[in-house]
């Protein structure tokens, strides 16, 4: 089955492009500190220097090497999004399964909380929480987790509700298995696919959210290199030095598009497999 999915991915050029760009981004993020001779916040030259042998993409408003900042700019965003979404997925899976399996009051309480959260625009929530708890990376991670956990709970619960009436769950109940054992053994393996896809989908959205927050001054603090922050720093010079905005925008959009292409391709390869298996005949 995996082999088949793998083949299907290999055959889709769009997915392959997505994977290639994504891999490149990850490699750059991992190796960035060793790729250029400058530190990311080192005042290497004078401000607004044009591209040269020394500074391939020129320097930014403070005379820092722009290429270095660009290469480093994805690291924090990606890590924050990764941690936040991971927490959201784990917590979402737990609460989603608990809501679906227990039903009754637990379900009601969890889902009403989720509804409440959904009714509040994310940006508003973030705008209140971050100034309230102070602007720091752990707070940012928790806020990202909070933004995405409700969606995960909903999707997990929806799928779990279709699993709950199935015979194998009833069989487990009749064996006298504990709730935890049923959730881990019977439900979890069946929602794992969904969780992976959820993870990837939320990931691209979370990266955009972190970047927007940085742009608005609520996310990553200077002098940490960050694409959203770089756009926000450069936006005042868009008439004279548009590259300050264009480079980080390209970096951000290629990452998000690549992530989406990869997610879609892999999900298709995995998801269609399951769907076809069920509707065959």
């Amino acid at each position: 089955m995996l082999k088949k999915s793998g083949k299907r991915i290999l055959r889709s050029p769009v997915t392959m492009i997505g994977i290639a760009v994504l891999t490149a981004h990850m490699a750059i993020a991992a190796l960035a500190p060793w790729l250029t001779p400058y530190g990311s916040s080192e005042l290497a030259g004078m401000p607004f220097e044009p591209p040269s042998r020394e500074f391939w993409l020129g320097t930014d408003i403070l005379g820092r090497d722009y290429l270095t900042r660009l290469l480093m700019g994805g690291r924090i965003t990606i890590s924050v999004a990764l941690c936040g979404v991971f927490i959201a997925i784990v917590a979402g899976a737990f609460f989603g399964l608990a809501a679906a399996w227990h039903g009754g009051m637990i379900d009601e309480v969890i889902m009403r909380l989720v509804d409440t959260k959904v009714a509040i625009p994310s940006i508003l929530l973030v705008g209140v929480l971050i100034p309230g708890f102070g602007q720091s990376v752990p707070v940012l991670i928790l806020v990202i987790a909070l933004v995405y956990v409700s969606g995960v709970i909903r999707t997990v619960r929806a799928l779990a509700l279709t699993i709950a009436p199935q015979g194998f769950v009833t069989a487990a109940v009749l064996r006298g298995e504990s709730n935890l054992s049923i959730m881990c053994r019977e439900f979890l393996p069946n929602v794992l696919d969904l969780l992976c896809v959820e993870f990837a989908i939320r990931m691209s959205s979370a990266i955009l959210l972190v970047s927007s927050l940085s742009f608005l001054g609520l996310g990553i603090s200077p002098p940490t290199p960050d694409w959203g922050l770089m756009v926000s720093e450069g936006v005042g010079y868009i008439h004279t030095d548009p590259w300050l905005v264009i480079y980080p925008s390209i970096a951000l959009s290629t990452l998000v598009v690549a992530l989406n292409l990869t997610t879609e391709g892999v999900a298709n390869a995995l998801g269609l497999d399951a769907a076809r298996g069920m509707t065959k005949g």
């Binding site: 089955m1 088949k4 083949k7 299907r8 055959r11 039903g103 009754g104 009051m105 379900d107 009601e108 199935q166 015979g167 194998f168 009833t170 069989a171 487990a172 109940v173 009749l174 064996r175 006298g176 298995e177 053994r185 019977e186 393996p189 069946n190 794992l192 269609l272 497999d273 076809r276 298996g277 065959k280 005949g281």
Partner: protein, 553 residues
């Protein structure tokens, strides 16, 4: 010739991009007013063929060769617009699942109106009149009321009638019915079949009737095509084909059908051991729990009474058949005994121990001794766990076996079920339906139970597979001496496995006694109706040609 299919070939692209043939060079012909049955087991290509008759294929499939002549015109060669115009007006289809072919948020009347309006260009008023007339023609008592209902407000039979009415809206020359009654109860099926025959004459429509159920085809069709692996392996007059099948596969299919007729094989009656019964149910009543939001003080609807005052017992080593149509309460009985739902009022004693709690609160040993096998084998096996893990779980839970020991035991169980031990590392989806149900049986027998509850275990299987699973169950039972509560809507199956039988309708017992007695001399009219509906009718309905032959004589 009304419909002439020549050498029709349909293929589809598989997951790994290979091209497979689903319908392989099929030729058939249909004359005005004729009825043609297409029979075959799942996956034989009969549904694909039915669609191709309307010049339609599922996405991913493609008609790669052949012709479909409708009144002499090859409709496969027509442009798309004309194909659309033909569908529904000259050749219409009744699909398998009536609920999925009706739009759930539209009143059924409006859905028929739409078809009438599109193909005949009538005004809304005229269309409405016509729709109500059509609904009346399908034998529904209050067509005006039905017209205004939503699909979910109708019963299964009513829905199927609505779909048939919609299909007949434009008086098509040909009506293709794809398993129209498979989702229905036997008695409902009988009524729908009668309706189909009656409408055929009234509307002078030729029928193509697709079914896996030879019994149904025998009731409705003049001629039959038996399909296997995309080919027509046998075709001819229905009666003759059934009387003397030429192809071995057709014969096997016919033999595999469990027979209710006296001529069928009768299960040898097992001797009553005379011991106390393993299960004794006295005055069981069960009402569904009240429904509400689950919030304190929110309004609740009282539940309906599913089982009324039911008493029966199962003797050791014997099998009790529980017969009934959907909604008769038979699954509720299974759920109460197995402990899926908490018991209602009344007494249930298992080997002298009262079963007054749901399964999670029962002692572990009690849980082990009562095992259940479910209707849908695929859904009863966790698709993400290997067969080995599925079988090992009860062994580890009930007998605290170590990993290796459990694995060996699981392998032994599989072999006992006529399956290779290599399957331990496979996943449920990689198995056929019969294999899946055998794994489910093996899981139940792994607990070494005293009572096994089989809830419609064969209804999702093809007839040939069904027979082998039943044989396996019987031999396992003979070997282990386990008692069995066997629930089914299929009298043929019940007759094959059950020593005693109870007929349930609306939660009440209609008939009870040893299987042979009930089936040969039914005491209740409902039992008679059920028997009539299930009876093998290979010789019930004289084919049109025979009538002609008789007339000549």
């Amino acid at each position: 010739m009304l419909l002439d299919v020549k050498n029709l070939t349909v293929g589809y692209r598989t997951d790994d991009r290979q091209f497979r043939i689903a319908v392989d060079g099929v030729s058939l012909a249909l004359d005005k007013g004729e009825t043609l049955g297409i029979a075959g087991e799942s996956g034989c290509g009969k549904t694909t063929l039915a669609r191709a008759l309307m010049a339609y294929t599922r996405p991913g499939s493609k008609i790669v060769g052949g012709n479909v002549f409708l009144d002499g015109t090859d409709i496969l060669a027509l442009p798309d617009r004309q194909k659309h115009a033909i569908r529904g007006s000259r050749i219409a289809m009744v699909p398998q699942n009536p609920l999925s072919s009706l739009t759930f948020h539209m009143r059924v009347g409006a859905q028929i109106d739409e078809i009438v309006c599109r193909h005949e260009g009538l005004s809304r008023r005229q269309a409405q009149e016509k729709s109500v007339a059509l609904l009346a023609a399908t034998g529904m008592p209050e067509p005006d009321a039905i017209y205004r209902r939503y699909p979910h407000e109708l019963s299964g039979g009513q829905r199927q009638r609505v779909v048939i009415a919609a299909a007949l809206a434009c008086r098509p020359g040909i009506l293709v019915l794809d398993e129209p009654t498979t989702a229905l109860d036997k008695t409902t099926e009988l009524r729908v079949l009668e309706l189909v025959s009656q409408l055929r004459e009234q509307f002078d429509t030729a029928l193509v009737y697709i079914s896996h159920d030879l019994n149904v085809i025998a009731r409705v069709c003049d001629r039959i095509c038996v399909m296997r692996d995309g080919r027509v392996i046998e075709a001819g007059d229905t009666r003759k084909t059934f009387a003397s099948p030429v192809h071995g596969y057709t014969r096997r299919l016919l033999d595999a059908i469990p027979r209710v007729n006296a001529s069928g094989p009768v299960r040898p009656l097992r001797a009553d051991s005379g011991e106390a019964p393993i299960l004794e149910v006295t005055n069981l009543k069960y009402r569904y729990p009240a429904t509400g939001l689950g919030i304190p003080f929110s309004p609740k609807k009282p539940g309906t009474l599913a089982v009324q005052d039911l008493s029966f017992s199962i003797n050791r080593g014997r099998t009790l058949g529980l017969v009934g149509e959907s909604g008769s309460g038979k699954s509720t009985v299974a759920s109460v005994i197995s402990g899926i739902i908490p018991p209602g009022s009344g007494k249930i004693a298992f080997d002298g121990v009262p079963l007054n709690r749901a399964a999670p609160e029962r002692p572990a040993d009690l849980r082990r001794r009562i095992q259940m096998v479910f209707q849908d084998p695929l859904s009863s096996l966790n698709p993400r766990l290997s067969i080995g893990r599925i079988l090992m779980r009860p062994l580890r839970v009930f007998f605290a076996m170590g990993h290796e020991e459990a694995r060996q035991e699981a392998a032994r169980l599989l072999e006992r079920m006529d399956m290779r031990a290599e399957l331990l590392d496979r996943f449920p989806r990689q198995l056929s339906g019969g294999q899946q149900q055998r794994v489910a049986l093996a899981r139940a027998f792994a607990a070494r139970p005293d009572l096994i509850i089989c809830d419609e275990v064969t209804s999702a299987l093809d007839v040939s597979v069904q027979a082998s699973v039943l044989d396996l169950l019987l031999s396992m039972q003979a070997e282990s001496g386990v008692s069995c509560l066997f629930i089914s809507h299929d009298l043929g199956v019940i007759k094959r496995v059950a020593d005693d039988v109870i007929v349930l309708q609306s939660g009440e017992v209609r008939d009870a006694g040893p299987t042979s007695d009930v089936f040969t001399a039914p005491s209740h009219p409902y039992t008679q109706l059920l028997l009539e509906a299930t009876r093998n009718v290979f010789d019930v309905r004289p084919a049109a040609s025979d009538e002609a032959a008789l007339a000549v004589q």
